[in-house]
Amino acid sequence: MHEDDEKLIRTRQRGRAVVMGVLLGALVLLIFAITIAKIKAGGGQ
């Protein structure tokens, strides 16, 4: 494999890992907020 290709692969992998991390963090916050909203509403549906 060409050195440039390997560099590109690493860059893309890093980019995807960062985006995935941000999305998972956002999901955790969202689930937490949904839980609080459900508790406030009186225990869900």
């Binding site: 494999m1 692969i9 893309r12 980019g15 995807r16 985006v19 969202l30 949904i34 909203a37």
Partner: protein
């Protein structure tokens, strides 16, 4: 092309290509009509649950868009408008697109069902399956009526938004569904008139390709009539106030004027297709205006 496909099998796709699979521009209208459907409902929605519902609608639409691109990679490669998408351009392998689409769709439905309600989740499921199986797989390559029936897929968001807020469906969201459903043919056929060569090259049986320009123009005019009725019906049936009624009558009048111009003219070779482009552009703005007016009308009423 051989080089790019070979690269796609080795290189992991960039995250921006996954984003492009979701058709973000189409998603804007889907999110807006879904949000308006929710805000037009006669109940207060918890902001977090409301946000979650809209997120699920957006993710569901994104999943449908990704699966559409997965299935249509060969068609997309033949059209100028779509040849630079991740799959035809060789920036992603098909399996990644399929996994992404199925995963995103399942996630959106499960989240909607758990966080919002089952009615909204069920309609969201139907809308994704309708777009992918009925429109993309079944109709698009077989009949010039593809976008007439397939238009239902894009008409679901206001219904889902309303169901997310209330837990059921009612007359007003059904009329909104009918409005978007009947708006789709004139909207897409206006586009198809000035993108005809693209569709013909790809072998997609769009109405101008199969039945010719004259028949398409006539159909644009004819479909505008029931669309106008569906647009004004919420006010005529006293489901909205006069603000929506006034805006709907004015905006529909402009739409009808542009559609009349398109449906009664004939073109020669090299025509710039300005009236068709104007109708297409107005049709997009038209939905934004109508749904925006619906929400403002609800708030001030």
């Amino acid at each position: 092309m051989t080089t790019t496909i070979a690269q796609a099998s080795i290189l992991p796709a960039d995250w921006r290509d996954f984003l492009a699979l979701t058709k973000p521009r189409v998603m804007t209208l889907v999110v807006f009509t879904g949000l308006c459907g929710m805000l037009a409902a006669p109940v207060a929605v918890d902001p977090v649950l409301g946000f979650t519902a809209i997120l699920c609608i957006a993710l569901g639409a994104g999943a449908a868009g990704a699966l559409n691109q997965w299935y249509e990679a060969d068609l997309d490669a033949k059209m100028k408008r779509t040849e630079r998408r991740p799959l035809p351009a060789g920036r992603m392998d098909r399996q990644s697109a399929l996994h992404f689409g199925v995963g995103l769709g399942a996630f959106s439905v499960i989240l909607m069902g758990l966080a919002v309600n089952l009615v909204a989740a069920a309609i969201l499921t139907v809308s994704i399956l309708f777009y992918v199986l009925v429109y993309t797989v079944w109709l698009k390559r077989r009949t010039p009526q593809n976008i007439v029936i397939g238009g239902a897929a894009g008409a679901f968001p206001p219904l889902i938004g309303w169901a997310a807020a209330t837990g059921h469906v009612a007359t007003l969201p059904i009329l909104l569904f009918a409005l978007v459903f009947l708006w789709t043919p004139p909207h897409f056929w206006a586009l198809a008139l000035f993108m005809k060569s693209d569709y013909a090259a790809a072998g997609v049986p769009m109405l101008p390709v199969v039945a010719g320009e004259r028949a398409t123009r006539l159909q644009i005019g004819l479909y505008t009539i029931p669309m106008a009725i569906a647009a004004i019906a919420p006010w005529a049936l006293r489901l909205t106030g006069t603000l929506y009624g006034g805006v709907a009558i004015a905006a529909t009048g402009v739409f009808a004027g542009l559609a009349l111009r398109v449906s009664t003219r004939s073109t020669g070779a090299g025509d710039a297709m300005r009236p068709e482009k104007r109708l297409f552009a107005w049709s997009i703005l038209y939905l934004f205006i109508l749904f925006g007016a619906l929400v403002v009308d609800r708030w001030i009423g």
